[in-house]
Symmetry: C3
Subunit: 363 residues, 3 copies
Amino acid sequence: MGMRLSALVEAVGGRLERAAPSDGDRAITRVMTLEDADGSSISFITNLKYLDALKTTRAAAVLCDARTLKLHGELFPCPVVVTGNPYLAMAQLVTELHPAPRHPVGVNPLAVVHPEAVLGAGVTVMALACVGKARIGAGSVIYPHVFIDDDVEIGPDALIYPGCVIMRGTRVGARVILQPSCVIGSDGFGFAPDREGRMHKIPQVGNVVLGDDVEIGACTTIDRAALGSTRISNGTKLDNQVQVAHNVVLGENVVMAGQSAVAGSSRLGRSVMIGGGSGVGGHLTMHDGSKLTGGSFVMHDVPAGETWMGAPAFNHISRAKAEIHYRHLDEHVRTLKQLQKRVATLEAQLAGAPKAAGEGEKS
Amino acid sequence: MGMRLSALVEAVGGRLERAAPSDGDRAITRVMTLEDADGSSISFITNLKYLDALKTTRAAAVLCDARTLKLHGELFPCPVVVTGNPYLAMAQLVTELHPAPRHPVGVNPLAVVHPEAVLGAGVTVMALACVGKARIGAGSVIYPHVFIDDDVEIGPDALIYPGCVIMRGTRVGARVILQPSCVIGSDGFGFAPDREGRMHKIPQVGNVVLGDDVEIGACTTIDRAALGSTRISNGTKLDNQVQVAHNVVLGENVVMAGQSAVAGSSRLGRSVMIGGGSGVGGHLTMHDGSKLTGGSFVMHDVPAGETWMGAPAFNHISRAKAEIHYRHLDEHVRTLKQLQKRVATLEAQLAGAPKAAGEGEKS
Amino acid sequence: MGMRLSALVEAVGGRLERAAPSDGDRAITRVMTLEDADGSSISFITNLKYLDALKTTRAAAVLCDARTLKLHGELFPCPVVVTGNPYLAMAQLVTELHPAPRHPVGVNPLAVVHPEAVLGAGVTVMALACVGKARIGAGSVIYPHVFIDDDVEIGPDALIYPGCVIMRGTRVGARVILQPSCVIGSDGFGFAPDREGRMHKIPQVGNVVLGDDVEIGACTTIDRAALGSTRISNGTKLDNQVQVAHNVVLGENVVMAGQSAVAGSSRLGRSVMIGGGSGVGGHLTMHDGSKLTGGSFVMHDVPAGETWMGAPAFNHISRAKAEIHYRHLDEHVRTLKQLQKRVATLEAQLAGAPKAAGEGEKS
């Protein structure tokens, strides 16, 4: 594997700068961080926190955008590949230079597959996986210890890592990736209390529907709907340990970072982004393009395009202001107490003044 | 499957209102949301957020309580089934109209069961489950990829979904439901640091005891006690990704929503409710009927019946007040600064006054 | 099993106080909590919350440090074993008195092991575990339903509980303990958005390296690096449901409590401690010995040795002050409003005074 730097530049639609004529011929075999790169590596800078690492990198070349080159060009110790979206270019190069390992195709004899399961062409089911009366699309790969229940349909080219559990009724689109040990289709958390405080289970008889190009993180859980469907739309990506409750609907290209959660029946519009560790309360709507920063908890609908922050969350600009004052509360309260004294003094003076002024008082 | 509307009304102990004489004969085959219901569906309204959906529902009938009918009766486009607890009635109807799929009973030949395991009548152990020298009560269902260690006892009619891990010493009551990939009896997190900062593991030699009618969510983890038992009492329900640390004791009918946690040795009384994403610190007590709202973190004992909120949590009424002021801190601080100026002006005026007054001023 | 109290005292390097001459001969068979101890138990007190339990314990003897004995000596109803680090002594005694159950050594015929896997002496692989073309060090124990991918190396004496997933490229040191269902080497969460908002996966081609004496909690997830390695250094302990993102580096003897998380590329120095439910943002450094209290979220670098608190976190002493004022905001705002009125009155008085003073001033 490997490619010449000039071919690489062409592949990402970039242009080569600060290069000697011979640099285009260098063989690039891998993508590495600035710190770990060597003379056969291409590296990248997309976060200015790493300008120090840039100065000392041994990379054969570094990807960046035009702005970074303009502002920090003097720091680059090597040729530069300028592209409009260096992060995307990096993704493309990793795909080309670091191909995923290939598995033997087919059903391992130690897999347990229901005789009425329907497997598409080139499906791989590894040892100790368990597939019920389900349909699995062509080219899908099922790792060991995966459980696929009866009445599950999985689109083509799915990649389902070890330990995943996919319960009955689930529908999975094309090119979906399920990281290890995620759970799709567990029962929603629904109980009706009686007068004595006992909780009676409301059977959860809906399902989960995952669109195309969805990726679900390790140990993430997506509950089936009580009735109807919990829906994750095309292109949406969930990180590890995310919790999606019953009847939630996530729009297209939603991104939820690690340990975030959405409570029952809430809806997230297109391209909503949820920071790590954040929670969205139940029966809410976060409209298209809205964002919740990390460590937040939202209890109201969020308007389209707004960023909310904090717990409870509100608009991040208002909250940032409030937060600054919060940090200086000690000082503000001291000022307040001094003012109380000063006003009391003034009041005493004024109350006394007339007397003191007694004669004349002519300010 | 299905039942006549009149039989359904009788089954839930309700009364039919706004119905034509023939409506009682309609065949109801399923429970659906207001939005998805059709003419053979019964639906329900228990949350006023869905009044809009109520207006346009195509359901054959809608369950609600007397109060909702009284206040919003004009919105119902169909017959109404009035009951004291419509949510409970809904649970009952889902159970009747949407029965769970039935599995073949017995031990699958591809399951691995210890020869000295004791299985009650009608136990199901599916392929690739692994059962040690344990006792499993009659009627229990064990899905694939479940691990049940030696010295585990499971009461009758348990339902243990794929990927669950139940470590040695665990005791599980009757009618317990374990959602996929929960872990019962992992080691508690206990280490003794030495002077060099190295952490020495304190062997965790206690166990976990789950009462009757307990339900545990997907990827929820319950640690064994360091010594003695971690206890989850009868009727308690834990959602997905809940963490219960060693030596915690949860009372009866406790409800913990997704991603909440209780740190070591804390105790929750009867009917305590913990909102999603909330944490309870170690060695604390939340007394009977107390509540912690979502996204909170409590570091003190919570009195019986109180609701606490926030991180760090305190009484929710006090916190709601503080939170409102917090949101207006920018305004308050501006007021404070204006007051400083105004008081300084007053002080200058008063200081000047006497001088201006010239003669006298001797306070 | 069991030991005489005098031998026990010697084993922990302590001294026996408040004992009758014959007490040294008592047979001690187990370590128990103060509450559950009986006459053949040794107990311990390391947290003053349990002084009440101390008074009524039936333990044969209680471990504590010299300070506790000095301050609360009158509460001990039994002989006392005084040691410098009673918690460590307790750990030692649990190890001696409550030995772990022993498993039959060897590869179970129902395990699935790659023919080219290299297993050290005395390795145990239980039924339904799946081991790829990997190296497993001598004395390691692999429970059922564990998945070990190709190109994994595991040091000697590892203990890998059921359901763990260890993906390709992972390197695991000596004496590592993986609690059930943890995931090591899932893909990092890296996507490059294009102009239409579609997220393109950046292949994650790095790995995870776990040092010696590391312990990882149940359902904890550690992502492989995008490029290079995610590193967990020697002696570090992670509790349940912890999330470690790609390219994170954790120093030695770091402790992360349940449901905490570190976002991508952040670094934690030696002996950093993270409280339960806390999050560390991406591309940050927490320097040696710094601490984050439970329920916090940090978005800035934390200096060595400092304790930070809250969301967003800052120094815990400053935050504690701010938090106290926050709780009294209602009162402070009331004071502020009263001051506004009082100042307005003063201003009116002063403005009016001269005129009023004009003829007689009689307000």
